[in-house]
Symmetry: C2
Subunit: 315 residues, 2 copies
């Protein structure tokens, strides 16, 4: 399990390019109660992944740095990985499913990573990664099992408590669960009384189902507009963290997510991608019991194609 000391250490190593993102007041979010948005959409490369991308790449030894590193990503980790690879002088490659939004593919190219496509199955990514490791000597980052990645994500939890020490409820978007694991590890270590809740789309709820079953379960496919939340099963390590630290994972509908993207743009003046807006959706839907102390909703990213955002604004 990842400790808060490891998260503190990861935070001390973060480079100046990583933004301490603002915690923005947003009273309309939770029925007029004190509530804040942790805007990782304003992070460099447009999502929280910049933190973990640096943490994991900076940990490679000199020989591994020279050969390069590869991971599979639906887009946000790809962009962050490319950016931090270039900054550290490490060649990077990214395995993407063919169905990945062209906007995210182009961006990853532009930031300096090689993009290698695989079939549109979650497991096809793993198969190609194994081949690239064997054939090209690339270091494979299994980013939803890697403790360094979870520690990088956890730095967000430390910042939340620094800016809002009395936080009562922290909401986190969930795909394979690494972000949830890291943030929960930091928050529960430093403020055990705070509640941490994950949020998933109804059509991509593998972590929610796994927690309900008491073991990791898979769903056949992810059906959601949230292209950053398409894991068909949680990582084993994130699942263990969630079992220990997380009160629940709640589900939101596609309509609630669309409404939340619009709310964030019009009321909070933030561009959020659908996957980044699920926590806002959970609060606006009114299903969550208020906390003692302020609510914090993590807005995990803002990488949405202009046409998609325009369409969501017209709903």
């Amino acid at each position: 399990m990842v400790t808060v000391d490891e998260i503190e250490a990861a935070r001390r190593r973060l480079p100046p390019e990583v933004v301490q993102t603002p915690l923005l007041p947003c009273p309309a979010l939770h029925e007029g109660r004190p509530a804040f948005l942790k805007a990782e959409s304003l992070q460099v490369t447009g999502s929280y992944k910049a933190r973990a991308a640096f943490t994991v790449l900076a940990s490679l030894d000199p020989a591994a740095r020279q050969r390069g590193a590869v991971l599979a990503s639906s887009g946000n980790f790809a962009a962050a990985f490319a950016f931090m690879g270039r900054r550290l002088g490490i060649p990077t490659a990214v395995v993407m499913m063919r169905k990945t939004a062209p906007y995210k593919v182009e961006r990853t190219h532009r930031l300096g990573a090689e993009v290698i496509f695989c079939d549109d199955r979650w497991d096809a990514r793993e198969e190609l990664l194994a081949r690239l490791e064997a054939e090209r000597g690339l270091t494979v980052i299994h980013h939803y099992e890697d403790p360094r990645v979870i520690a990088g994500h956890g730095t967000i939890g430390l910042e939340i408590l620094e800016d809002c020490p009395e936080a009562g409820l922290v909401l986190v978007p969930v795909s394979s669960g690494g972000l949830l694991a890291g943030v929960a590890a930091a928050v529960k270590a430093r403020r055990p009384g705070a509640r941490v809740i994950g949020v998933q789309p109804e059509g991509a709820d593998a972590m929610a189902r796994s927690l309900e079953a008491g073991h990791v379960v898979s769903i056949p496919e992810a059906r959601t507009m949230c292209d950053a939340l398409v894991a068909t099963h949680p990582g084993e390590l994130p699942f263990q963290h969630a079992q220990r630290d997380v009160e629940a994972v709640v589900r939101v509908s596609e309509a609630e997510i669309a409404h939340a993207v619009r709310f964030l743009a019009i009321e909070a003046k933030l561009v959020a991608e659908p996957g980044g807006a699920v926590t806002t959706a959970a609060l606006l839907s009114g299903r969550l019991r208020p906390a003692e102390g302020p609510t914090v909703a993590l807005v995990s990213g803002g990488n949405v194609a202009p046409e998609r955002l325009a369409a969501l604004l017209r709903v």
Copy 2:
């Protein structure tokens, strides 16, 4: 003239509802040089006006507070004035031209101010204000001549230098010039070597023309999509400040403004209204000589109707 001591005093009085808005790195803004966005779009009520609205309302004596206050506004000051009036228990009224965006009218109502319409002429606002003062005893806030308003605006300049003490160039949107006056007074007092430049739409460039003429001049009408930048002449006091502290006021085209709104949404993940995006437009157009030291572009507001934003994203 407004002094930096008055601006410091205004800052000390600001209530917790006023956000110390983030200064966000945005290297793509100025040809890869260090550049930041001062995101007053993330201010409470969605624009920088919250600061001055509080400053001026909090300065009223008890009798004036009871009778209430009125000002003319194209929308952003209206919303801020309504919000701060409610917070301070002071009745507020706002005079708006009939052509004001319905979105902004509705918002002002909802935040608690009475809205009173006048003809679509800049001077019609003044005539109605005079009548409301005489007939109803309302205190009229002449917000583009009031030194308390300029002091409130100037608090943004102090925050910019606090977060970026080495700033070399500060860009400010300009309508009647109060924001420019306040920010420039703070910046030039604390860092005389920094350059302060105003930005206006080509079709609403009264301050630019006035500085070129050496005295206040009027334009017949404002022709721009920037509904927050529709002054047909600068205020006299802001003009004097600009003459003393401002290097130049540059003009940007409507196409450049539209491109800047899109850039801010897609690259910086910020929702900006057209008037808030003019400083970004000036930098992206490549016309400004780089400064020694980082560039700061003030994004003054984010109150744009969803349909308008959607249309600009599809350009």
